[in-house]
């Protein structure tokens, strides 16, 4: 099956000075909810703008459903619904006028356009604000209108750039649920640096750092690949007992322990050592001590840990690259 997005050696250098996207190879499977993750300035927005043809690549190419992207790639853009970060909307228009303009730009006939606009306004909860000018809208309302705008042409691919930026908790939940719902019928790319959003809605992930794509794959792949062989044990008891326990645990084969000030014990298990057996041995020592176990935290499935580890690895290997 043809991927929704394919890039090969995609590179964007601004004014021969700033490398925004660096030799990016990416494939976004059709029908997936793809999270494009990266810190600020990683090149996420530039990547989306290259796909839309708003910017021209310095090298390499990008394709959407097999068609090349570029400034005049009208057919490509007809298949994309784009939501920019904090969208700049024409303040002098009202929501219906704005969506009608976008419907016309997408060459939608009146009989399709009109009912779709009212359905979208209802879906994003802006029916009560149809007589207001956009300049009076709050950030959340602008984002919701931007969401409706990206859906006017009912495109098979959605590119949403930080859709939850500046939203209150209720609007954020609404947006995430909408993405999950839309992901059932469309391919969705969500660029963000908010890890919890990615955790909740995405089934595939790409991690960008300093313009490079340092990881792509399914969410499961990422968590498995970066399985951290460590636990944090939350204990109750004297600090001296915790330090003693750390010493005893470190004495076990292939296990290292570190006590910190917050009555937590960080247990690291060496590669090749059975995690369950190691944990059983540690628990036995706790049972024999004067301490009581409050909680066990595993780092294995935390996307945040995996993400931070990826960034650290990428920085550490910078010279080898």
């Amino acid at each position: 099956m043809e991927p929704a997005i394919r890039t090969e050696h995609l590179t964007k250098i601004y004014s021969q000075r700033l490398i925004a996207v660096n030799d990016m190879n990416l494939q976004v499977p059709c029908g997936s909810v793809f999270g494009l993750l990266g810190p600020n300035g990683a090149g996420k927005t530039t990547t989306l703008r290259l796909l839309l043809g708003l910017q021209r690549p310095t090298a390499g190419f990008a394709q959407v459903f097999g068609k090349s992207c570029g400034p005049n790639a009208v057919r490509v853009r007809s298949q994309i619904g784009y939501l920019p970060t904090n969208p700049k909307l024409p303040g002098n228009l009202r929501p219906i006028e704005y969506l009608d303009l976008l419907g016309r730009l997408s060459r939608l006939p009146g009989e399709v356009r009109k009912p779709r606009i009212s359905a979208l306004l209802r879906a994003v909860g802006l029916l009560g604000a149809t007589d207001q000018r956009i300049q009076t809208f709050s950030t959340g309302m602008c984002t919701r209108l931007g969401i409706a705008a990206s859906l006017v042409a009912d495109p098979p691919l959605l590119l949403w750039d930080e859709p939850t930026a500046g939203l209150d908790p209720a609007a954020r939940r609404f947006t995430l649920e909408l993405i999950r719902e839309l992901g059932k019928t469309k391919s969705v790319v969500v660029a963000t640096h908010i890890l919890s959003d990615i955790d909740q809605i995405c089934d595939h992930l790409g991690v960008m750092h300093e313009g490079r794509m340092i990881f792509t794959g399914s969410m499961q792949d990422m968590k498995q690949r970066l399985a951290r062989h460590d636990f944090t044990l939350e204990l109750q008891g004297a600090a001296e007992d915790i330090r003693r326990l750390a010493h005893e645990v470190t004495g076990l084969e292939g296990i290292n322990a570190l006590a910190n000030a917050g009555r937590m014990l960080l247990v690291k298990i060496a590669d090749g050592r059975s995690r369950s057996r190691a944990l059983a041995e540690v628990l036995k020592l706790i049972d024999e001590s004067n301490l009581s176990l409050q909680a066990i935290h595993s780092g294995q499935n935390t996307t945040e840990n995996a993400y931070l580890q990826l960034l650290q690895e990428d920085e550490a290997h910078g010279f080898h690259r």
């Binding site: 601004y14 708003l54 021209r56 853009r77 024409p90 976008l102 730009l105 042409a153």
Partner: protein
């Protein structure tokens, strides 16, 4: 049946162009600049007609009414209107709202340019046509003049063409320089001494001053008259009147009395263009207009948003 299908196909194809054109015209019409301009141009026209009601013949008075559009001050407004569509903060709104949709950049530029041209020409014609009708039909105490319908249409066309060129020049400068203020300043520095610049290349007949001088003659031409014949029929009187027109215009703006006529030695005077060749003027302004739009499109096509 076939033609209906064809029409609807063209309609669908043209839908984004028409949508942008309509949107831009609405936005421009709502702007204070356009409304102020419309009011100011109507007021100035009224003042010019009123103050020269009993002084000039029809042709001369109409030429005087066209002076503000060709020479000063409306070129400034026209240039500012041309500069804005793809420069400054507008570019970001554009990228977020319009150019990420299935619209080509050329389609957008063409629609945006058309909106500005249509608006500028509308404001100009809405004010000038009633004034011309009033001047021609009213019984005034000045001698009869031989202004023709053909002459009026072509004179209006020439001024319209210059205005279109100015919009296009603003459009090109805005696209190239990106910063609207910088583009306007650059254009003012180019347009003010344009007579001097054109005279360096022996193209003085295309300067707005020369065109305005030739308009009184053009207004009296019939459609059968060739350019060569018209040249022979040029009234010497018009040349003298032209300098009166200019001083009259500025004295009206400043409120100062007109200066007495001063005779200049012959060697001081440059070549006078009291007649214009429609063909040459159309090419002289039409080709640079087309070139400006094409250059702006190319420049915009290569630009990152």
């Amino acid at each position: 049946m076939d033609s209906t299908v064809k029409t609807s196909k063209i309609g669908t194809r043209m839908m984004p162009y028409m949508a942008i054109l309509k949107h831009d015209m609405k936005t421009l019409w709502r702007s204070r600049l356009v409304r102020l301009w419309l009011g100011a141009t109507a007021l100035l026209t009224l003042l010019l007609v009123g103050s020269n009601w009993a002084n000039f013949m029809d042709g001369t008075l109409i030429a005087l009414l066209l002076f503000p559009y060709l020479v000063f001050p409306w070129f400034f407004v026209v240039v500012v209107l041309g500069v804005t569509p793809v420069s400054g903060s507008q570019a970001e709104t554009l990228a977020d709202g319009i150019l990420c949709r299935p619209v080509s950049r050329f389609e957008y530029l063409l629609a945006s340019w058309s909106a500005r041209v249509v608006l500028v020409l509308s404001v100009y014609l809405v004010v000038i046509i009633p004034a011309i009708i009033l001047v021609i039909l009213a019984k005034r105490t000045v001698p009869e003049d031989t202004v023709t319908v053909y002459g009026i249409i072509t004179a209006l066309g020439v001024v319209g063409l210059v205005l279109t060129f100015l919009v296009s020049l603003g459009f090109l400068a805005g696209t190239l320089l990106r910063k609207p203020l910088l583009a306007v300043v650059v254009l003012i520095f180019i347009w003010y001494p344009i007579g001097l610049i054109l005279s360096i290349f022996s193209l003085e007949e295309f300067s707005p001053i020369s065109l305005n001088r030739a308009i009184s003659t053009q207004l009296r031409r019939s459609w059968q008259e060739t350019d060569a014949e018209a040249k022979n029929n040029t009234k010497v009187h018009d040349t003298e009147v032209f300098s009166d027109q200019v001083s009259n215009f500025f004295s009206l703006l400043s409120g100062a009395p007109s200066k007495p006529k001063a005779s200049k030695p012959d060697f001081f005077e440059g070549e006078k263009f009291d007649d214009l060749s429609l063909f040459r003027v159309s090419l002289g302004y039409g080709l640079p207009t087309i070139a400006s739009v094409i250059l702006a499109s190319l420049c915009f096509y290569w630009r990152d948003l």
